[in-house]
Symmetry: C2
Subunit: 768 residues, 2 copies
């Protein structure tokens, strides 16, 4: 496919604003007479508020109001950033209130102070006394699922989500019986946090007519509007949600965490503006995390390496509230089946449990980094046990183009996994290094490793996929583009602008993208998640762009008395198709559309695209590492991510996306973990000193390659790219460590302490 | 015509916001790190800046920059709020720059200081020294038009605008010869000011990508964008203009007064935000005024009272810059001919002159209060001279339904002048009072008077008439409505919402109108002026509403498996036309349009209406007064305005509009005048202490009546109402004074000093 603007590395639309400080974040655009809230958080992990005394806090000068569940009207609501379902059985669990007297994790919201400034609000918190009745608490999913466990949510049996299926014409047990080898093992990952730069921050106020306005740093403005409507029992049309420039989200802002609270407080205060700006400690342990999980994996293999039967039972630690637990367990199941389809049978049984940990929810790639760590480690362990080249074992079993997914009904149109494996092998000098590193001794040992993934674009057929785009041509022939799809730092504004320029036939600089997402203004779209926007939003842009171009050609044809079919729009000009001659400028056509006294008719459109396809993205990582047996430290010598995301809309931005994902997975592999005090469930490291997110100093050179098939279902041949980069670096590094040391590390993170324990158990530390 | 929502007195959309202080005006929504500007204004009325020394001002701590014409890049621009014309000969005069070294009135902008706060900027102004070279100055139009006058704008001969025509099959001189009587006299009106509550205020900044944002209290956001584009030589698409809630304009904000200045200064400062908030003194004498004019009136009359020949030569005082001078002189000419079409011939010769007064421009009713004072006084004087009932004289000569205007080509579809005259006579007990007050002596004398007017709706066929509306249905079945038509306090948001509710078939409360007019978001519309919005904007709302309703019915028909033709939308429900049965709610249809996984398609539209019709509005005022001969004070005993504006969309709002206009005309009649020092041209009373705008204490009971024909060219049968109320109270009062005293006062204002002089000249003061 020949493109003019798509596929080129245009500068980000927001680059200059961000580096010059002109970008306006939620906190930058307050309101006169703003009030500020702080939240009183529980100091137990599970139990009830027996009594609460707010009198002293209320008496503090500058305190406007102290809210408890008793005096803050707010109904139950779900927090997950999913489109609403018309089918009640598919609606999200509404297990939250703005404030609670049933405490479900250490840090749960039991009261809130609203004051004239944040310092006073903070002081007032200390004047509130709470008496608790404690219950047993659970930090582990399987503990919480035991029959005798106390229910964290009444009637739930502590199950947030459950998903199970069997695929295949053969019974799973029969399939295992037909296998030559059966491998079974347990793998585990622990919770980590997003660590976006801008914490959760939001404020709310009402307009004179009673309409509620909520300004918030969110990935999902339109969904937030709907959830607020539910929480506050207000018609959606009475609510307006505005997302300014945002400092990251990575899925943590795909939940409605603080908006109902600020909104309910503002409404209770007659619509006065109330802001709540979380601090880092709150944001890390009281918003959302990537869930930890334990995987019971079982694979039946034929002598030649073909997987005949695959079975997984999986227990996710969902934390204190449902959030995304029920949908992630399904997505993980679909991924388990799809990536390595077994010849005879696949069986999945997945649970997400309520526990008394921080709430787990969406984080970049939504459960797939977890299951991919488990699957890719397991595959590597099988190869080792069978003495096979793990790359070969993957090539025998991995999914291929044309595969028809029996769970989703999706047929895979494009799949470049063979090319990805080939590229990885060349990059890492696979055969030579595998041989070179086969037998090592000493305290520093090297290894190479690989891991691959598959990842759907957007959520179809699980959920609604819809996007809107409004395009208005200005007097100079440029267009304003408004979309409910959300720029959250990933470059959406830029790639949508490229798409618009491509389709209308104007230069990139002539597309002006509205970066504040305002639900009154930006056409409906469910938001930034599931790597959906370039795919679903792209279809809306394309639809709008084609209409705009058609209107331009209609006017040009009439104005110039030329056949419409003989004309095209290119580079901001009306050109003859036959000889490329420029017969008018788009600007002249636009001017006429505004100011012709008889035929003026602004060139504008407001359209929706509803999507019922999915294009599966693929990729893999190859790593070369050096492991220090004595210290458990790992040095990354080489690391590459190779992606099949169809057409790459903006190569430099795409590379940046991949770098970011790789960095996230590096932390997941080697250093990051949320720690809880086993005695009381309190977070131990909810700050950026003790929580070890990798810095620039911890980051090696990150290499990136793209394989670009043209995905026929994508608007410009494109598939998911936003989340996939965060999936495979961790298992690739893990597999490289396995080659280097012979030790099967089946648990994340592989930080020095963890590795040292593994090496000790394997007797390695005695060797050196 | 049967309406459900139109024609009812719904509460203003912005009522609660305004009375609770929640409404956000330009000054309320500043930006972090705002800089503030103050302007150095000339202390001569005409001349050149020979030298200017800004060094001391620049050295003051807190001063960021001192701008003069030399260091502030800005091209010439016009200021009039007219739509752009593709025909260069119809474009407005670009005779302004942001700052000037040629001074054209006392207070002209010669330099500007930008500082970190307004106090410092104000202090810095005092540190600037300017040396001027003075030229002769002119405060009177006819003085400025003399052959030997110095040109205020080079090459202009001090003519801003000129308009002339002759209508009729007979030569004008022949027509006068055929007349039984010829009446000639000179009438005069003097400049007054708008006195809107919120002064001119604007600020500008650039976004990171270089786009310019201007937030301003304006009636014409889209026109401001285009004029900024011209002044700054930037493509229109690179400019965004936002109008927040606004505290009045009355035409003064139909000019682009300060936006190029703040924009140019911000651009020169790298896009830092710069605000300029005028003080009252500046706003009164350095923005715009209602122009003064002298009218040389000549009328040939047949014995029976029929006007055979009418001739007017008119000199308007346009002040220092062109603004609207050229178009007002045309509008006045058209009005002169239309209201009393002469049987044989009408001749008009109108000039607007550049003078060294404050710049005259648009003010409510745009020249028509001036000419109507002259015409209605003249008609009254003729009746007196002919000893005819002036009401009878009007009935003989006034325009009637079906009249085809030879100047504009417009045919008058509806004209209720006869009913208006009848209503006025009944209200004021015309015949009885005329008799009762016929012969009075003593110091207090009473009289009744009447005056009538005609007034076009919008500007067609003189200028482009276009309006856009975007309507989006929310999940609850309510709609968001965005329009470039501007709410400026007149109630536009409310009446457009009523129209939308009417056409879609939902309750009024389910229409949410976007009150901030943002050129990136609100569809193109030329703005609030010419009483055009309910007429032109109404057509856009109707067009959009019909599309939305059609889409709702399409979905309902498909969802319910009912024939679309059998269904209607009423009160927020889908009803069967045959029996009125509610078969679904609009909310249910809306929800399905958002969340149906297969057919979701948001119900939205973005349309433009281009209008090539005009519906002429009519009306009149009747007054009863008591005049104190000794003091020149006038007490209004009764006053009514009677309007034929077609359908009244919201009676209470309409009545409010009429009250406001009557109040404005009361001031015009009895107290208001802009005074200039004849020695140096300095304004003498540019403040609300010395300039006598009527207060509540000066205002009598104001009565209002409507006659409501259904105007077939109006979207809901409606015609102009915004400006007309300000036209006839002044001449009606003047004519009542004539009846009371026998004195022909041919000049405004009729303040105590003015009347005393007239009464003295007539010998009345000696009698009492």
């Amino acid at each position: 496919m020949e493109f003019t603007t798509v596929g080129k590395s245009y500068k980000r639309k927001d680059a200059a604003a961000k580096v010059t400080g002109k970008a306006q974040y939620t906190r930058d655009i307050g309101r006169n007479n703003m009030l500020y809230a702080k939240v009183l958080r529980s100091t137990i992990a599970h139990g009830f508020v027996k009594s609460i005394d707010t009198a002293k806090a209320e008496a503090l000068e500058g305190v406007v109001k102290v809210f408890t569940p008793d005096n803050l009207p707010c109904g139950n609501f779900p927090t997950a950033g999913h489109p609403y379902s018309l089918d009640p059985s598919h609606q999200d669990k509404a297990d939250r209130k703005a404030l609670t007297d049933k405490v479900r994790f250490y840090g749960d919201e039991v009261a809130a102070v609203v004051a004239v400034d944040e310092l006073i609000a903070q002081k007032a918190l200390k004047l509130i006394t709470v008496e608790y009745e404690e219950l047993p608490f659970y930090l582990d999913a399987e503990e919480a699922l035991k029959d005798d466990a106390v229910e964290i949510h009444e009637g739930s049996k502590n199950i947030t989500g459950h998903n199970s299926y069997t695929v295949g014409d053969v019974d799973i047990n029969e399939a295992f019986e037909k296998s030559d080898y059966v491998f079974e093992e347990v793998l585990e990952v622990l919770p980590v946090q997003h660590c976006h730069m801008e914490n959760h921050v939001a404020y709310a106020y009402t307009e004179g007519n009673g309409r509620l306005v909520v300004v918030t740093s969110t990935q999902i403005p339109h969904i937030t509007r709907r959830i607020l409507s539910q929480a506050l029992d207000m018609p959606a049309g009475m609510i307006r949600v505005i997302k300014p420039i945002i400092g990251g989200g990575f899925g943590n802002k795909q939940d409605v965490c603080i908006e109902p609270l600020v909104a309910a407080m503002s409404l209770a205060l007659g619509g006065r503006p109330v802001m709540y700006d979380m601090d880092r400690e709150e944001c890390m342990s009281c918003t959302r995390t990537r869930h930890g999980a334990r995987f019971y994996m079982k694979t039946g293999v034929r002598k030649d390496g073909r997987f005949l039967a695959r079975e997984l039972t999986n227990y996710g630690n969902g934390g204190a509230y449902a959030a995304h637990g029920h949908s992630q367990v399904g997505k993980m199941g679909g991924n388990f089946y799809r990536t390595y389809p077994a010849e005879l049978a696949t069986k999945y049984e997945g649970y997400t449990a309520y526990t008394n940990c921080s709430v787990a929810a969406a984080m970049r790639a939504y459960g797939i980094p977890q299951i991919t760590f488990a699957v890719e480690s397991h595959v590597e362990n099988i190869a080792k046990a069978m003495n096979m080249d793990p790359m070969k074992l993957r090539e025998i079993n991995m999914v291929t183009q044309g595969f028809k997914d029996k769970l989703s009904g999706i047929t895979i149109n494009t799949c470049e996994l063979p090319e990805i494996v080939k590229t990885a092998k060349e990059y890492i000098h696979w055969d030579a290094k595998r041989a070179e590193y086969a037998h090592q001794t000493g305290d520093k040992r090297r290894g190479v490793g690989f891991a691959l993934f598959s990842y759907p674009t957007a959520t179809w057929p699980v959920a609604l996929e819809i996007a809107g785009a409004r395009m208005v041509m200005n007097q100079d022939g440029s267009v304003c583009l408004q979309m409910g799809a959300t720029e959250i730092g990933q470059g959406a504004a830029t790639v949508f602008s490229q798409m618009a320029a491509e389709t209308v036939g104007i230069p990139y600089d002539m597309v002006h993208f509205e970066e504040f997402t305002d639900t009154d203004i930006c056409p409906f779209d469910t938001g930034a998640y599931a790597s959906r926007q370039t795919y679903v939003g792209g279809k809306a842009v394309k639809k709008a762009g084609l209409i705009i171009k058609d209107k331009v050609l209609d006017r040009a044809s009439a104005l110039l008395s030329l056949e419409k079919g003989d004309l095209d729009v290119k580079g901001g000009f009306i050109v003859r198709i036959d000889n490329g001659e420029r017969v008018s400028s788009v600007e002249d056509i636009a001017l006429d559309s505004y100011y012709n006294r008889h035929t003026a008719d602004t060139i504008a459109t407001d359209v929706t695209a509803t999507v019922e396809t999915n294009g599966i993205a693929f990729g893999g990582s190859a790593a070369e590492v050096e492991v220090d047996i004595r210290t458990g430290r790992v040095e990354i010598l080489k690391l590459i991510n190779i992606h099949d995301s169809g057409t790459i809309i903006n190569p430099v931005l795409a590379e940046g996306q991949v770098h970011g994902g790789m960095s996230m997975s590096l932390g997941y592999a080697l250093s990051e973990i949320m720690l809880y005090n086993p005695k009381n469930g309190a977070p131990r490291n909810n700050n950026l000193l003790d929580y070890k997110v990798p810095t620039l100093m911890d980051t090696p050179q990150l290499d990136v390659a793209f394989v670009e098939p043209y995905e026929p279902t994508g608007p410009y041949g494109n598939k998911a790219l936003g989340e996939p980069p965060a999936i495979t670096p961790a298992p690739a590094i893990r597999n490289a460590i396995l080659q280097a040391t012979g030790v099967e590390v089946n648990k994340l993170p592989m930080n020095p302490q963890g590795l040292f324990e593994h090496f000790s158990a394997a007797g390695l530390t005695e060797e050196v």
